[in-house]
């Protein structure tokens, strides 16, 4: 698969994402957002970073870039799209995925490892894992608290659109294990169809043995 990793001004995980994808044998290249999607694109990553300095709201500016129209069109046609961290904020702002990621409950930027429980192992992003499996990934965000109204959250849950929830090392979803106050501890969700997904934790930062673990590889395997 040829994965296009979109660079916005202030993206900073684009290179890591390409490297992580290359490590599992996936061809990936970085593309500047105004250059448009290469025609051979058959997978898309919106990488982490601080696009446009998080002006207005994290992801709000990048979500208005014309390349997002192309991405929505490709997503409708079935191309897998993954938003990671700032890419998740962009994905929600652009309407690819539901809800919003807003200021952490702590009102602080948090950079730490978290545990995640796999909620639905039937999506392209999670099929390498078992349901209820616990994985460990890093987070690095100030605006990662998942917010959505109760009714829509219930609909997401009943439609099995939650990818991961924050949990403790044993897989228990507790307030203490929720790093940012996300509603129902949601760490990642899918769009209307499950080939589009966003998540705040960084799978690409846990994909090379040299940097502490490979728990994140399974997510990226969706592009393999």
């Amino acid at each position: 698969m040829n994965v296009t990793v979109i660079q916005f001004g202030g993206s900073n995980c684009d290179r890591d994402t390409v490297r992580a994808l290359s490590s599992i044998g996936v061809d990936a290249e970085r593309v500047w957002h105004t250059d448009g999607l290469p025609s051979e694109t058959d997978g898309i990553v919106l990488p982490g970073g601080f696009s446009y300095g998080d002006f207005l709201r994290a992801g709000a500016m990048a979500a208005q870039s014309p390349i997002m129209d192309e991405i929505r069109e490709r997503a409708r046609a079935g191309t897998p799209v993954l938003g990671i961290c700032n890419g998740a904020q962009i994905g929600c702002e652009a309407g690819l995925t539901p809800g919003a990621f807003t200021t952490n409950e702590s009102a602080r930027f948090q950079c730490e490892h978290v545990h995640l429980r796999v909620e639905n192992a039937g999506t392209p992003w999670t099929r390498q894992y078992d349901e209820d499996e616990v994985i460990e990934l890093p987070i690095a965000h100030g605006e990662g608290r998942f917010e959505i109204d109760d009714e829509r959250l219930e609909a997401l849950e009943s439609d099995d659109r939650i990818l991961f929830r924050y949990c403790d090392a044993e897989g228990n979803v507790t307030p203490e294990a929720n790093p940012n106050g996300s509603k129902h501890a949601v760490a990642g969700v899918t769009g209307d169809r499950d080939h589009v997904a966003v998540m705040m934790p960084h799978p690409e930062r846990m994909s090379l043995p040299d940097i502490g673990g490979t728990d994140g590889r399974g997510v990226l395997e969706a592009f393999a």
Partner: protein, 83 residues
């Protein structure tokens, strides 16, 4: 065409946690002030030319819906005045 200023106030919907406002409230209390609650809001002033106030309001509303506010978490008010 008339010149207007549209003042847009964007705030979190009631019930959505506002950690920055909460931190600010606690800081005010540490300074010895007494208060019941504190809410924060963003305020935008948009100068624009339009045929009439309704048209100016409509454009400001579209700008707010498209970018200034995120309808998932925000409410907003718009006030239009002639400049």
């Amino acid at each position: 065409m008339t010149e207007y200023t549209a003042t847009v106030t964007v705030r979190l919907e009631e019930g959505v946690l506002d950690p920055e406002a909460e931190t600010t409230r606690q800081a005010l209390e540490r300074l010895g002030f007494e208060l019941q609650a504190l809410r924060s809001a963003e305020h935008f002033e948009i100068d624009l030319e339009a045929d009439d106030e309704t048209a100016a309001f409509g454009r400001a509303e579209e700008m707010t819906e498209r970018l200034l506010a995120n309808p998932t978490i925000h409410d907003y008010d718009i006030a239009v005045t002639e400049r």
